[in-house]
């Protein structure tokens, strides 16, 4: 048992290192490959577009050493990364780590809330559909799932804003403040996730409900509720939890879009701003954190799978 967990954690740690290196290197190459003059963009980010002239750009170039060879810049960045120094934002001058620490919390709030909502919506719908396959709940759920999953998160977000903020006026349209600001962006992400979770749950439930062990539990005298609670839910949870790790791609990607749409001050929002301002250390930092977030959430999913499925703990 402990060996299974320590092997898993070790694997994930190695993976995290690889992700950090690959994501960092790719963002480095991509930012260098972007069209337009880097120094001009950074100066614009600092002083505003109207104030930028060749002198300001030259000053930025000299200050940041932008004229040095890319290879040297890359190794500088790599050695800084190894000493856990992510540098300073070219725009605000703040250290990247402190900016990220601030934004990461907001992104985690959003991501975890979205995941929670997705499970709260998707799992019960899936169980109801799976207990009566091809019944009306199942068919309605299938149509809704296809519709929700075909829409990109920002369209769902816009529809939610139009309905709940503009028409009904129940929730704020964007921004960050009290708890009420979290609902719409979290829901915009959660609906797409819930659509897939509901289908995975539905198939799991139908398979479990038709299994010989489900029938045996009934004929040896357990009630329908006891059978579902003791032999249904855990077995259904196995594929649902496992599939969550596939869904994480959708989640992390969605965070970037949804944060920008709802002006949510998380790392996704910061990434988009950093790309526009060509703030290379911030781009690298945010992409890095999102990559590591992906690995961390995956590890969590694995640990939960290990917890609920004792078969996986057999070495």
């Amino acid at each position: 048992m402990n060996r299974v967990i320590s092997t898993l954690l070790l694997q994930r740690l190695v993976q995290a290192g690889l992700v950090a290196w690959v994501v960092g290197t790719l963002t480095f190459i991509l930012t260098r490959a972007l069209p337009g003059d880097m120094a001009f963009r950074i100066a614009a980010g600092r002083y505003g577009y109207e104030q930028v002239n060749a002198e300001a750009a030259a000053a930025v170039q000299a200050e940041l050493g932008l004229d040095q060879s890319p290879l040297i810049a890359y190794f500088h960045w790599l050695s800084d990364l190894l000493s856990l120094d992510l540098g300073h934002s070219l725009v605000s001058g703040e250290s990247v780590v402190s900016e990220l620490a601030h934004q990461l919390g907001h992104s985690l709030d959003l991501a975890l809330m979205a995941m929670l909502l997705a499970l709260v919506i998707g799992v019960p719908v899936g169980i109801l559909s799976g207990l009566r396959p091809n019944g009306w709940v199942d068919r309605l759920a299938l149509v809704s799932a296809v519709a929700l999953r075909s829409l990109p998160p920002f369209v769902i977000g816009l529809l939610l804003i139009m309905l709940f903020a503009v028409q009904l006026g129940w929730l704020p349209a964007a921004g960050h403040g009290g708890g009420s600001h979290l609902w719409l962006p979290a829901m915009a992400l959660a609906l797409g996730l819930a659509a897939v979770s509901a289908r995975v749950t539905r198939h799991g439930m139908a398979r479990v409900a038709g299994s010989p062990y489900y029938a045996f539990s009934r004929t040896r005298g357990l009630s329908e509720g006891q059978t579902l609670a003791r032999h249904g839910l855990r077995n259904v949870a196995v594929p649902v939890i496992a599939y969550l790790s596939v869904q994480l791609v959708y989640l992390v990607e969605g965070v970037v879009v949804i944060e920008s749409l709802f002006a949510w001050p998380g790392i996704g929002h910061a990434l988009v701003h950093a790309v526009v301002a060509r703030d290379v250390p911030m781009i690298q930092g945010t992409a890095l954190v999102m990559g590591l977030l992906f690995v961390t959430l995956n590890t969590l999913v694995d640990l939960v799978s290990l917890y609920i499925d004792p078969r996986r703990r057999l070495s």
């Binding site: 010989p212 045996f216 004929t219 040896r220 005298g221 357990l222 032999h231 078969r311």
Partner: protein, 471 residues
């Protein structure tokens, strides 16, 4: 004698009106086991489900099933549901699949005592320990079903099914896939459970189970009861033609083969001083073996003795710890094949058999011309090609497996318990066809079975593996 369950004209029909089980009547008496014997697919399992009241929604049961003056079939489903586990219980086929794969064995027995029998937590735990102890599962409390052998899983399922102390036990093919020693254990358990006040209805295709249980035996075919009587007289001298055929097909009554095979020097496969161990125990050591074309070699032994591993090793699916297996040179690797024990697991249920065979022919560039004559030889009607594997009988499907293997003109065929899931008559027919076709085509056949009588009958040579000491 006290009648514990009376069944009058019970029949099972589909919603379209087709009859699957013809009206059948019998009485289950306290303390006297009743065994339904018949071919696979003869509606025996449907009968068990009709008695329990858990037929699939598309099927209907009619007639009367009387327990304590109440007609089970007219009872509202909710009320009947409360009888399950408490007044009647069903011992499942395939115990491995009947236990929850993600719950520890102890907990699955414990929940029966606590939730069905209604014991206090401490008393339920106590009852669970008694069960485990009594069934030789003392160290299995924290094991998962996948860690149990077939026999152990059947005993655990037995304890779980009986935890609610239901006096009536319906056992549906309780010995399917078990070797003879495990089978005898299960039969002993069933007889114990019966006691003097309980009722036991066993449904099986295994004549030995009926013999050992004694009591009353009914012979069923195609959903119809052909005859019934006491086990002693009926099994010795059945009156119906089918009953006589069934007894004759019992491997115990088969004649041993006396004709000896003279190997021409036509070696297909040679194993040179191979050894294999599993879990620290040696299965066989320094074994040297030659297989010749056209010969039938039997391997006999209890489960866990390494019979199937030896077959897999000869086929090259398992690497020996020491020694090596050499194939005759110049023969395509697709001509060394295996025939599996469980035919449904060896076919995709999503495509018609015709499609599967056409795919096979296309893949190996075979001509379809050889299929129809072979189907005729194997007694497979052409219209079966349009069906899928889950809608034909086990015997037919196993003959399709044989057909599929023979199309590739094998020189070596490893048949792993190929007939253990078939009823005696189908078993005999299938096995005889397999042996005949293999000889005819000069294919070396390696036949693995736990049934000594079957090996004696069918094989030119045999090898017996000692069972390892079981924990």
């Amino acid at each position: 004698m006290k009648a514990i369950m009376e069944v009058h004209d019970l029949s099972v029909t589909t919603s379209e009106g087709a009859t699957l089980v013809w009206p059948i009547s019998f009485t289950l008496e306290a303390g006297v086991p009743l065994t339904l014997l018949g071919e696979t697919g003869s509606g025996k399992s449907l009968l068990a489900q009709a008695l329990m009241g858990n037929l699939p929604p598309a099927l209907n049961a009619s007639g009367r099933v009387i327990i304590d003056g109440e007609n089970l079939l007219e009872m509202p489903p909710q009320q009947r549901r409360r009888w399950w586990g408490r007044r009647m219980t069903m011992l499942p086929q395939e115990p491995w699949h009947a236990l929850d794969p993600t719950m520890r064995v102890g907990a699955q027995i414990n929940e029966g005592h606590r939730l069905v029998a209604g014991l206090e937590p401490a008393a339920a735990r106590h009852a669970m320990y008694d069960d485990l102890e009594g069934l030789g599962l003392a160290d299995s409390e924290f094991k998962l079903p996948a860690q149990l052998s077939g026999g152990m899983a059947q005993r655990a399922a037995f304890a779980a099914a009986r935890a609610g102390n239901a006096p009536i036990v319906i056992a549906d093919e309780p010995t399917k896939g078990l070797d003879s020693a495990r089978r005898d254990d299960v039969v002993r358990l069933l007889a114990q459970a019966l006691g003097s006040n309980g009722g036991l209805l066993t449904i099986t295709h295994d004549i030995a189970v009926a013999e050992q249980l004694g009591g009353t035996v009914m012979i069923m075919r195609r959903g119809e009861c052909l005859e019934s009587g006491s086990a002693e007289t009926l099994l010795k001298a059945p009156q119906s033609a089918y009953g006589q055929q069934l007894m004759a097909a019992n491997p115990q009554h088969w004649l041993a083969r006396h004709q000896h095979f003279n190997p021409a020097d036509d070696t297909v496969l040679q194993a040179r001083s191979v050894s294999l161990s599993r879990g620290g125990k040696s299965l066989f050591d320094n074994l040297t073996l030659n297989l010749y074309r056209g010969e039938v070699l039997g391997i006999n032994g209890a489960s866990g003795s390494g019979k199937s591993s030896l077959g897999d090793l000869l086929l090259g699916l398992v690497k020996p710890d020491a020694g090596k297996v050499e194939r005759a040179p110049g023969i395509a690797s697709t001509r060394f094949l295996k025939l599996y024990q469980d035919p449904p697991a060896a076919f995709s249920p999503f495509w018609s058999l015709g499609t599967l065979l056409h795919d096979l022919c296309r893949l190996h560039k075979l001509s379809w011309d050889s299929v129809p004559p072979l189907m005729e030889r194997l007694g497979l009607a052409p219209d079966l090609l349009e069906r899928r594997s889950d809608s034909i009988s086990g015997g037919e499907l196993q003959r399709f497996s044989i057909l599929r293997a023979l199309l590739l003109e094998p020189v070596f065929l490893f048949a792993d318990e190929p007939t253990s899931r078939l009823d005696p008559i189908t078993q005999q027919q299938t096995l005889e066809l397999l042996v005949e076709l293999a000889r005819e085509r000069h294919c070396a056949l390696l036949l693995v079975s736990h049934d000594k009588a079957l090996i004696d009958h069918a094989c030119d040579r045999q090898l017996s593996l000692e069972a390892p000491i079981r924990g």
